[in-house]
Symmetry: C3
Subunit: 343 residues, 3 copies
Amino acid sequence: MFQKNAWYVAATPDEIDGKPLGRKICNEQIVFYRGPDGKPVALDDYCPHRGAPLSLGKVESGKLICGYHGLGMGSEGKAVSMPGQRVSGFPCVQSYPVEERYGFIWVWPGDKDKADPELIHKLHWADNPDWAYGGGLYHFNCDYRFVIDNLMDLTHETYLHPTSIGQREIEEVPPTSRMENGSAITSRFMHNIMAPPFWKAALRGNNLKDDVPVDRWQICRFFPPSHVMIDVGVAHAGHGGFEADPAHKVSSVVVDFITPETETSTWYFWGMARNFNARDQGLTDQITSNLSKVFLEDKEMLERQQVNVERTRRPLLSLNIDGGGMHARKIIDQLVSEEQSTS
Amino acid sequence: MFQKNAWYVAATPDEIDGKPLGRKICNEQIVFYRGPDGKPVALDDYCPHRGAPLSLGKVESGKLICGYHGLGMGSEGKAVSMPGQRVSGFPCVQSYPVEERYGFIWVWPGDKDKADPELIHKLHWADNPDWAYGGGLYHFNCDYRFVIDNLMDLTHETYLHPTSIGQREIEEVPPTSRMENGSAITSRFMHNIMAPPFWKAALRGNNLKDDVPVDRWQICRFFPPSHVMIDVGVAHAGHGGFEADPAHKVSSVVVDFITPETETSTWYFWGMARNFNARDQGLTDQITSNLSKVFLEDKEMLERQQVNVERTRRPLLSLNIDGGGMHARKIIDQLVSEEQSTS
Amino acid sequence: MFQKNAWYVAATPDEIDGKPLGRKICNEQIVFYRGPDGKPVALDDYCPHRGAPLSLGKVESGKLICGYHGLGMGSEGKAVSMPGQRVSGFPCVQSYPVEERYGFIWVWPGDKDKADPELIHKLHWADNPDWAYGGGLYHFNCDYRFVIDNLMDLTHETYLHPTSIGQREIEEVPPTSRMENGSAITSRFMHNIMAPPFWKAALRGNNLKDDVPVDRWQICRFFPPSHVMIDVGVAHAGHGGFEADPAHKVSSVVVDFITPETETSTWYFWGMARNFNARDQGLTDQITSNLSKVFLEDKEMLERQQVNVERTRRPLLSLNIDGGGMHARKIIDQLVSEEQSTS
C-alpha cells in the first residue's frame, strides 16, 4: 500500500561511490551505481545473462560489470559488452528514473514516463551553507505507515524517549492537525517549560543558557509519498518561540524519509538540519549521535506493533493525537487509489 | 491439541515483579503484571489505542502504562486513563483469570466463567518449611505431549542421561502403568543396585553413604492439563525403599509443568521438591544446577523428534514402556473432546 | 529436478567413522553409519519406536542404537533389539543402497532394485599411489544445476576468482562444447600466456619455473547424475600443453560431486587430484587450502543467483560459453524424464 509513481529517497551518495549498491525499494530489487558522467543509475539488479545480482559486480569507467561473467551494462539497462559475445540481442532489464539532489539519491519506482525531477520534494535548507545536516539510515521491519504515524504524533516522546526529548508537558498541550495543499500538519506549542536533555544540549551548543524556561515547538508536516519534516526547537521563554530572533533560540528540522522496502519493511532515512552554529562539525556529530539513539528506541516498538497488528487484524483507534497520521493516511489512500485507477 | 479450560503455570513470581511480562500461553498472547493489590493480572498483550504490546510498557501503582503513548490499563482489560483523552469509550481487551499460588503464576486461557481457583493442581509440598524447591524454565520447540511422553517413560534416562540419572538397571525392570481418578501413573522399582551419579550426590547431600546398594523408585503421575509429578529417590537397600524411614533415604518430587505455547512449542517449568536437608540452600542450588543439565539433554532430542514426526506423519509405536504416555494422551484427548463438544 | 536412480556422493569416510551421520540427500533424510562388517549402511533417519532421529544415537558393534530409548537397528532397516521388548513386529524403515569406493561414501536414493555398484562413476586416479587427492565439502543454498553451470563455464574465473585462477586470457579464447557418450564436454586451450597465481604456485610445487610462458588447458566433463571432472593444468609453452611430458607440466583433475540436498540446496564435494609430487602432503594441504578459498567465492554468487532467479522466474540466456551447462541440463532432463516415465 504505497505509491509507485513518486520520488523516494533510496540511498545517500556515499553508498554508491566507487561500487554498486543493491537495495529493494517499493518491492523493486534495484542496483544503484554511478554512470559514465558520475550521475546515479538505477537498474533491475538482475544480469540478463544468468540472473546474477549486478550489485555483486563492479563499476569500470561508469559501466556496470557483472561479477559472474563480465557482462557490461549501460545505464539504460541494455547490455553493452561481454567478452567474446555479441550482446545486441540480449534482453534489456528495467531502468529506473534516478536523481541525485540535496545530498540524497532519489528513485522513482513506478511508471518512467511520469517521472519529472521537478516533483522531487524541495529541501530549502539543503545546499545552504547557513544550515548543517547530519543523519543516518535504519531498517525497520514494519509497514512504513507506522513510522509516519509515529512521527506525526510526538506525544509518544514522553513514553518512548523519556531521557532525551520526552517530557510530561508534551501531553499536557493538545496538538492541532489539519490538511493543507495535499500535506498534513500537526502542531504543538509548549510555553514556559524547562527543556529536556536533548534540547538543553542544543542550547549549550548554541552558547545559550540551558537552565531557564523556554518555549518549545513541534510542527510536523507530512508530504507524499512518505516524507515527514518537523520544525522543532526551543527559544528562551517570552522571546516569540518559533518566531523568536535566532539569538534566543535553537531551531532545526527533523528530516524523515520513510521509504517502503516491502509492504512490511522500511528504509528509514532520518536526520536533523539546523541553522545555528552550522559550521561546527563536532556539534553536528554530537546531535547525530544523540538522534541515532532516539530513533533506535522507536525501532523495537514499531516492529513489535507490526507483529501485534498482523496477529489481531483489529482496527486501530484514532484519537485526537492521531489526527496528523490520519490525515497522512487519507492522503496516501487517495493517491494510491488514483494511481491504481489510471494504470 | 490442548485444553483451554484449565489452569496452566505461566510464569514464576519473580518474572512479574516490578515489570510486565509478555508470554504466549496456549496461543494466547498475554501480558502478566501485578495489579494495584499486588495480585497478578493477565491481559491480551495489545494496547487498544494503536496495537502496541503492553508488555513493552511499565507498571505504575498497579496500573499498566503503555510504553508508546501512555494509555493506562486497568486489571479488567479496560483503559482507565490516557493523557488528554477520555477513554471511557475505548474497546476493552480480553482479561484472563490468573492466580498466584505455590510459588507459581497460573493462568486459565479459556472460558473465564469456568475458571475456579479450586481447580488449580494441589502441591502438598509447597509452602511447607520441611520441603525445599528449586527449578527453572526452558523453551522447547516441540509439541508439549512429547515432553509428557518423555517424563512418563523414564527408560530414556539410560540413553539420554547416562552420566547423571541413567543406569542399565532401569531398562531391566519393566514399568507398570495404570489410570487412576483421571490421572495416569507409571511406576518402576529397582532393588539392590548402585545409585547413579545424581543420586550418589543426593545421598551425600543428606549425609548418607553413597557406596552401598540402594533401592530406587520412580513413580510418575500425569495430571491434566499437562503436569507431571514424579516421586523419585533411593533408600539404602533393605530398609523399605520408597516406604523407608527418612533416616535411610533421599526422596523427592520431580515437578514438571509443561505449558503449551503453541501446538508445536512449549514452556517447560521443571524443578525438584525435596524433604531432606530442606534448609540447605547450597544443596538446593547444586541439585537445580545438576537438573538444568539433565533437562537440556532432553531439549535437543525432543525438538529433533518434532521435526522428524512432522516430516513423516507416521503413527508412533506404543510399547509397554510407553503405557504412561498413552494413558496421558487418552486423558488429554477425552478432555479436549469434551471441551470442544460443549463450546 | 534430479535423478533418484543414481549414485551420489553422500559423505567422506571420516564422517561416519565411530558415529552416525544424519544427512539429507535428494530429499531423503538418511542416517549413515558403519555396520557390523565396517561397511557403510544408509537408513531412513527415523526410529520406528517414537520417531527420534537415529543419527542422534550411537553405533555399538555395528548396530545403530537409538539415543532416546535404546532401540537397536540392523543394517536392513529392521529393529533387532530393544531392552525389555520383542521387536519382531516393529515396522521397518527404508534402507538405501550405499557403497564405499574411491574414498567416498556413495548412496542411491531411488529404486533399490536398480542400484548396481558397477554404475558408480569410475575414478581412474583414486587408489593410485602416483596420484594425490585433497578436498572438502560446502553446503550451497542453491539448485545443484547452478553449480554444474558454474563448473562447465570457467569464463567466470576471470571475474569471480581474479586473484587465484582467473586471468584475462580465459575469455579471449572461446570454449568448444559437445556431447559424447552421455556426457558433456567443454574445452578451452590457451597458448603462450603467463600463469595466474594458483598455477604459479603449482609450478613451484613441482619444481618448475613459474616466470616463463605456459600453455593452459581446461577440459570440463559433466557425467550424470551431477559430477563434473575438469582436466586442468599448465605446461611450459611449446612442450605440447595437455599432452606435454610430465617433466614440463603440472596437471590435475578438479573433482566435483554436486549432490542435491533438496531442489534448492546442494552438498558440494570439491577437491583436486594431481599426479605430480603426489607424495608431498604439505603440497596437498596447500592446494586444498587455496581451493577452499576459490570455491567459497562461488558460494555467495550462486546463492544470490538462486534468490534472483526465484524472484523473477525469467528464462536464462544461453550463450556460446554456456554450451557445456546446456548440454549437461539436456542430459539431466532426458534422464529425469526417462526415470519418471518408467516409475
